[in-house]
């Protein structure tokens, strides 16, 4: 088993030096916090992760969530996750004081859950989905629903879920058919089935509060007729006692990875006795859900970024311990009389390690940046500043969700490869990370859906203002980095990519302008990849110039080698990854249209 799963130095470097968490403490919302208190919180989280999450990681895969006799049984550490996590603020952390929260910056909560994800990605979801469900109630439901459900959820005594997907409605949420029928008593009767419900049932909480998308009788077709309901597993009687609410667990999906995190199939109202309470106004359900969805998507990116980090740590440790082969001498030969060298000395192994480092740390930087935009948009008072951060958050969110998942899977695969045959064996942990991370390209909107959102909505929104703001931010980093002589050529390379973005979009928009939207969006997936490379390149240039600044200032917060490793990895990313934009731009501007459906079917 690997000894470490997260690089706390890099996490804190990104949090404090690169993304300047301290800026936030100046806002009224966060004035109750400071760096020492946040450090103490993160250190406590790391201790918790060391003790209660990481040691159970393999065990939860070997002994996965299972379904037996109508009940889902999960590993006993789920109880610890909910209870201790609840006590420590993993659930209530980002909520306002008057909502029962700790009002800590989302950046810090994100860093905390990142540590937990890296330690054992099968566990934190139980708590973070409970937070997501509680937030929906806090923001949109009436006081009675808040009083009834939220306090127990924040403590981790009750769980929470989000119920969107149905067997016939996954990517296409407009096709939801779960029914809600108003009764004279004011509640609704709910009937229907939901699938892929993470943390949908388990034995360690007294109740589970489902936030369910359903259609009120007579509601309009499509997304305009979807409402949001609180549907508890057990409803709360007037005397406070709990009685079954006709929510049945029909099965638990057996999966390739994240096997300790239950994924359930739920049936509502089989006995016509499932009661649900409307959240907010009728037919506004999808809007409410999507207002919280940005956070959920950052959460998915965070989980994938954390797995990539943990896999990097495990393969790095192996590479520093495993001797195999010899260095190539100047004659091109190897001397079998010499001792074998450590594999970390082989250039190709180093390439695989730097690739992991570039992806894992680049992803983490992007995640924390998104969290900072989230904090800023709710903290700044100036209207146009608020709009700026909202738009920046909107445009990067699809990439925040997608890049860590897609590139992270590649990083983990390289980590597995570092171990050779052992990487494929169950006694080594890389294969588990390899299986676990694969779901993140599917969770909360697949890569395809995120790509349509990026190119089809976010790039076009407010007449392209969100993209314009993003490019300005990148431009600022390029300008600052250009002040450092050693970084000038790298900054210039990134500047060239901004021109490339412009060229690609001018080309693609000719189709949108001709109302050929299907063509405009047909390579959205490649555009996602293309823009993500640039955005991660921007993050690396930022990490590099902050490191350069620290070296120049002889800032002793970290070692020289630490700062230099950031500059080195930036160069690695630019040489090995950012170059891929060239190929993608060529493909995106290629005149042949090959993926739209044609008269003859060529997929045989």
């Amino acid at each position: 088993m690997a000894k470490e799963y997260v690089d706390i130095n890099t996490l804190k470097y990104l949090l404090y030096q690169v993304h300047a968490l301290d800026d936030l403490f100046g806002f009224e919302r966060y004035e109750g916090h400071d760096r020492p208190s946040m450090d103490m919180f993160l250190d406590a989280i790391k201790d918790f992760a060391d003790r209660d999450l990481f040691p159970f990681f393999k065990e939860m895969d070997d002994d996965p969530a299972g379904f037996d006799n109508g009940e889902v049984r999960v590993h006993e550490q789920v109880a610890v996750m909910m209870k201790k996590g609840g006590e420590m603020g993993v659930i209530c952390g980002p909520l306002d004081y008057d909502q029962g929260g700790l009002q800590i910056p989302f950046m810090v909560h994100t860093a905390a859950t990142y540590i937990l994800d890296a330690a054992n990605n099968h566990l934190p979801g139980y708590a973070t989905l409970t937070l997501g469900a509680a937030e929906l109630i806090v923001h949109f439901a009436n006081q009675n629903l808040k009083d009834t459900y939220v306090p127990n959820m924040l403590l981790g005594a009750w769980g929470g879920t989000m119920c969107l997907t149905e067997p016939q409605a996954g990517s296409s949420l407009s096709d939801i058919t779960t029914k809600a029928t108003l009764t004279d008593e004011g509640y609704y009767k709910i009937s229907g089935q939901k699938i892929f419900i993470s943390g949908g049932d388990y034995q360690y909480v007294e109740n589970i509060v489902h936030l369910v998308l359903a259609r009120i009788d007579g509601a309009p077709e499509g997304t305009k007729g979807i409402s949001l309901f609180v549907v508890p597993k057990n409803r709360v009687e007037t005397d406070g006692s709990l009685v079954g609410n006709d929510v049945k667990t029909l099965s638990d999906f057996e999966k390739m990875g994240q096997r300790g995190f239950a994924t359930t199939h739920l049936g509502f109202g089989d006995s016509d006795d499932c009661q649900g309470w409307l959240v907010g106004e009728a037919n506004q359900g999808l809007k409410y859900m999507f207002l919280m969805m940005n956070d959920a998507r950052i959460g998915v990116g965070r989980g994938a970024a954390a797995i990539a980090m943990a896999a990097y740590q495990a393969s790095l440790q192996y590479a520093k311990e495993r001797a195999q082969g010899r260095k190539i001498s100047e004659t091109g030969k190897k001397d079998p009389g010499e001792d074998q060298c450590l594999i970390i000395e082989h250039p190709d192994v180093r390439r695989m390690l730097f690739l992991q480092k570039a992806i894992a740390e680049g992803s983490l930087s992007l995640i924390l940046l998104a969290a900072k935009y989230h904090d800023l948009q709710r903290s700044v008072s100036d209207h146009s500043e608020k709009e700026k951060y909202q738009l920046l958050l909107e445009i990067i969110t699809p990439m925040v969700k997608t890049y860590p998942a897609e590139a992270g899977a590649l990083a983990v695969s390289n980590g597995l490869q570092v171990l050779g045959g052992y990487g494929f064996c169950s006694d080594f942990i890389l294969q588990q990370y390899y299986r676990d991370i694969r779901i993140f390209s599917i969770y909360e909107g697949t890569t395809g859906i995120q790509s349509q959102d990026l190119l089809g909505r976010k790039v076009l929104m407010n007449n392209g203002k969100a993209l314009q703001l993003l490019i300005e931010e990148i431009g600022t980093t390029i300008a600052v980095a250009s002040d450092y002589k050693d970084l000038q050529e790298w900054a210039a390379t990134l500047k060239g990519k901004l021109t490339m973005i412009h060229e690609v979009l001018v080309y693609l928009k000719t189709f949108a302008n001709k109302e050929n939207y299907e063509r405009y969006l047909s390579d959205a997936n490649l555009f996602m990849e293309f823009l993500s490379y640039v955005v991660i390149g921007w993050n690396w240039l930022e990490m590099a110039y902050v490191a350069k600044q620290a070296l120049d200032n002889k800032d002793a917060a970290y070692s020289e080698a630490f700062y230099e490793s950031k500059i080195h990895t930036m160069k690695f990313y630019f040489k090995y990854e950012l170059t891929k934009t060239n190929a993608l731009a060529e493909t995106l501007m290629h005149k042949e249209v090959l993926t739209q459906k044609m008269e003859k079917e060529f997929l045989v």
Copy 2:
């Protein structure tokens, strides 16, 4: 469960029309065969795969090979694979008549095992490794060893393995320490341990014949002191009876994928009673092993190509049955009143399917081409022609082993993504292909090792003659394709890539010329990817022009749509995959050196 796992039409199109199997029947070696007899053989293999392999594919994953009480227990279909496979010629097929073989072209044997691999990749290895071991004996051992072991192996009554890897010697074979001590009786006493031995033990054969690399007492250091031995699990007494030969199975490796294919840890001579017989001459073991290794590496590529094909078939079937979402209209909106469309109509799903098709069929074409070179080099009589095919086979083999494994894993991942959340669930087969294919980048020399072989040996061998021959072959295809007006621009694109290969090598060779071999080879992995894209592009251009020719000639062997699909997929490959060479060339010629070990360690 998917209904189909292989596209027999494409297999036969490649075998007969693109790679012209019929050419071989003109050689003396293959004059006993013709197209009808080979078709009959392949059809029988397909029936066998349908009946005895494919239906047990999931079962073998659910109930994997296991180790209990010193014995490896495998699924009972292994018995069927060995027995029926043996009877049908899966083991003896490519051997000469006088060696007990059927003398069928390696192309046909490759096509046959490809069908078996696609049906259930956990099974054919038991038979093909037995063939590999038998071939080593047939080619290099004395008559007594041949008479004692080969007949039972060819029948599938006895298994066979190749024992190379040791705990301290994986990629670095020069570090093998298994000992062989000559006795007065003429045999050697063997002692040592071997790991990762595929098919190293199972209950359904009477004996297993291990071909073991070991070091004779006093042998030179490194690769020059390695000898090859026949070391049976049970030795054959003079009366023909079998007695235990002190070969112990120490464990079976539990793995992420290919779980039905036993991977064992073997101990030789724990009780000082393990007898081995030298094959050929002392200290020539690695040479013998590597003379057979080309075939083994083609076999790895074949297995990966087959899994990519099977995954493509499964996801294609799903995409043709699953309704989800709607087409985008000219207003950019979707009408929720319309029925949902099949997902195969969405451009992004089509992109994922075409990508799979391009990789799966491109890989298959390359595999069959390698098999053809193998057949030609042993059939032609002219010396320089023989050398030509030997060199062509040498230079493409690292790519034949690597591209289907690396690109195949990407293809399978796209297949999984087509299914969305279901793709991650154990009830659907994509996740099994995803796990299974991951080992192929590690088997028989990792991608890193293959890449060093390609750039470090094959590109340089005979003063670059192998590469020159390959480029001439590609040039021939470009010239022929250029005769078709519709293909001219695509042929021109491929021609540009030949120039790019030249530029990249001129740049890299400056380092080799300065005896900086480590730098020359440091990005060998990227060169492998780069050259593989071009070679697969060449295969696609070949497939396309043969299709174009068939369309022009109104050849009715296949439908018009079938031929057009080949041309369409060639264009897809050129637009979406071949473009990646641009980025790779830029990286390969980038002046920064970032992966050689430096004084300070930046991997923190």
